[in-house]
Subunit: 299 residues, 3 copies
């Protein structure tokens, strides 16, 4: 026990080597828990019946709950955005008050986009219901499909990403990744009627562009061809473009910023694609020969 | 900030387009959190020593805790089932009181099956311990193997599914999916001594049938061949049948409702199987040729 | 409802068949929740700025918080280790007091290693930032990259594993597995500047040895060739050795205790490797022929 102050001092030294203290003008850091709570509250507005304790609210009660929730979201998001702006190159010189002002504008703009998110998400629900024979109702999908939950978080995070809010969209998308196994970078552009089935292991990179009516299964990667150049590639288009009405079966990988999967293509399970595919074809491997080796009793 | 009432009104309009209000006879929705808490409490009964704060209870205390827990589970499950029955075609005309009565019967029947679940899960523990050289004790498996946790939830959810309880089994299985990366539809039929190692990315579809002593590794899919027909396929057998003593190594995919993997088969890693396999063979690919390309210093 | 006491009795009978009661000398079990809370608190010390509510602490406040946290960690870890030692062969005869004494020594030794963990983790952050064009800052990685979070937990769990603490390291690593989809057995030896991108589905077995500057993508398995011998293989080297500067792209599997991937090798996506690879080569498959099958309108 007596070793503890000594260990604490070593930890302090290592921490201070990285960060300065007590400068006064250094702002607080974003709070991961608050950001995750904001996502949860936004989702409770997007589908107000399928949340909370399930008690049916009357119209007046529901409307006043939504107003209250929007106010809470607004307040939290302004504060967290003001903190996160310290990570933004163009806001770096700003004082906290200036960042707070900028955060208010960004949050206002975000809130105005929420009704459109509802429209988009209803189309995603339609796509999931039409696409999955195991779905017994749209409520079932909204309640518990991880792919849908990941898309919901993505559509929220993407709006903030497009508005130029730093860090927060990524914290949101990685919390969805943790919950669902679906890793969608908030920068990815995704059209309407998008459906991810099962979802675990799906990776959709930052510069991916996905059209409308696209369907993706578990383990699919839309990734980069190589990342050896590391930070030098930042901002460049390095992930594929997927056009409308494409279906990509489980564990297929589609790599590269120049790779375009054209309209109506069906990519078979496990395919490894690094070049563009013309419209309206199904892509399969020549099935590798499967060998059957008899198993002896004591094998 | 002043925009908020206006945004709330737009959200209300979109919400009201979907659902009616204040009709009185409309019941409350199932509560996801309560359902997840029910699963947790059932698990605390199945392995009463490996839960709570770990303090050892004496026999009397333990028995009265189990009685108390069963009463709590019963009460919660009745209420949630009554709510969920609004999603059931055959219960649709029922008043809430009638649904409550039906929910009582279903819950009673479920509780009676809990002792059998303990027997099944002990066999699953045996299979995991025998099958994994990294396991140092059965308690270790019960404490922390995600594959075991997913099977535990599945066996609970499956009983409710078989009894015809709507929605709740799926909420349970998707919460296990989120926690473990293992996606087992509650409809899947699974024999005794079942073992899933590592588990992340495993998908087992609704109409899969799995025999006894089956062992599955991470990333394995038991899936459908195509889901283009969508809802028209609902209820049809579209996932494979796996007979006794089959082992399926990591990332193999076995697809199709007519596909039968017969007794004692070993499916190699990454195999993509869409047709039946006769008993007692090992299935491998002709290894694709691997090429070694020298890497230059500045490559 | 009246069936409940009867069901409870059946459950008790099954439980008693496994464990004895009231022997007095039987100790309490480890508490999973407390162990997960310990990991969280250690992480709050490793990166003290990126936790809590984000408020900036001054130097004095921070140092006293770290002292307090270390004391809490110490107390909890001693108690949980004393409990866990009942799973240790060599501690089996010990009374609780003796185990408590042993637990104190182990915990002291662990705490002393925390400053070194900080150094290692800073190198892991560097590797992630240099390796991922999507990373905009090291804080972003520390805040939300699941691969980094899994490595952080692994480095903690591995120290305890090396000290011979039973069960607890595995509970820690499986909680990281649940949160991140990355399954690293606490026994695996991993060098500095280690980076896992995306992470979901990664499996790193108990006897894997990984050098410095290694980079791994989602879905990669470092596994055993076969586990048919089950418990007989316990403790044997059954997972591969990966030398310095190796990159392994997504969904590749490298299997077997004799398999060595030598320095500077790049393993292509989806490769299935069961034999050693010489230094400084890139390993790829002869691309299987892809076929394009035209899709008819009503296909």
């Amino acid at each position: 026990m007596s070793k503890i102050p000594e260990i604490a001092k070593m930890i302090m030294d290592k921490t201070m080597a990285e960060r300065s203290f007590g400068e006064g003008h250094e702002s607080a850091q974003p709070d991961r828990c608050v950001i995750i709570a904001i996502v949860k509250k936004i989702k409770e507005i997007l589908f107000p019946f399928l949340c909370g304790n399930g008690e049916r609210e009357n119209k007046e009660k529901l409307e006043s709950r939504i107003v209250k929730d929007l106010e809470d979201i607004s307040e939290s998001l302004i504060q967290q955005t003001a903190r996160a702006l310290s990570y933004d190159e163009s806001s770096k010189g700003m004082k906290y008050d200036e960042r707070l002002e900028k955060a208010k504008g960004l949050t206002d703009e975000f809130l105005r986009r929420i009704p459109c998110l509802i429209d988009l998400l209803k189309m995603d629900l339609d796509a999931a219901f039409d696409g999955d024979p195991a779905a017994t109702s749209k409520d079932e999908i909204a309640y518990c499909y991880p792919g849908f939950s990941a898309i919901e978080t993505h559509r929220i995070a993407h709006e903030l990403f497009v508005l130029g809010v730093p860090l927060i969209p990524r914290i949101m998308s990685e919390s969805a990744h943790s919950e669902t196994g679906v890793d969608i970078h908030p920068g990815a552009t995704i059209g309407h009627h998008f459906f991810i089935d099962h979802g675990t292991g799906v990776v959709i990179g930052e510069t991916s562009e996905i059209g409308n009516y696209v369907k993706i299964y578990q383990g699919v990667t839309l990734g980069g061809l190589s990342t050896r150049a590391g930070q030098a590639l930042r901002g460049k288009k390095r992930h594929p473009t997927i056009k409308d009405n494409v279906t990509i079966y489980s564990n297929a990988s589609i790599l590269g910023g120049q790779t375009v999967i054209n309209e109506g293509v069906v990519i078979g399970g496990n395919c490894f694609i690094t070049e563009s595919i013309p419209a309206h074809v199904r892509v399969v491997y020549d099935s590798p020969k499967i060998r059957h080796i008899p198993i002896e009793k004591d094998d």
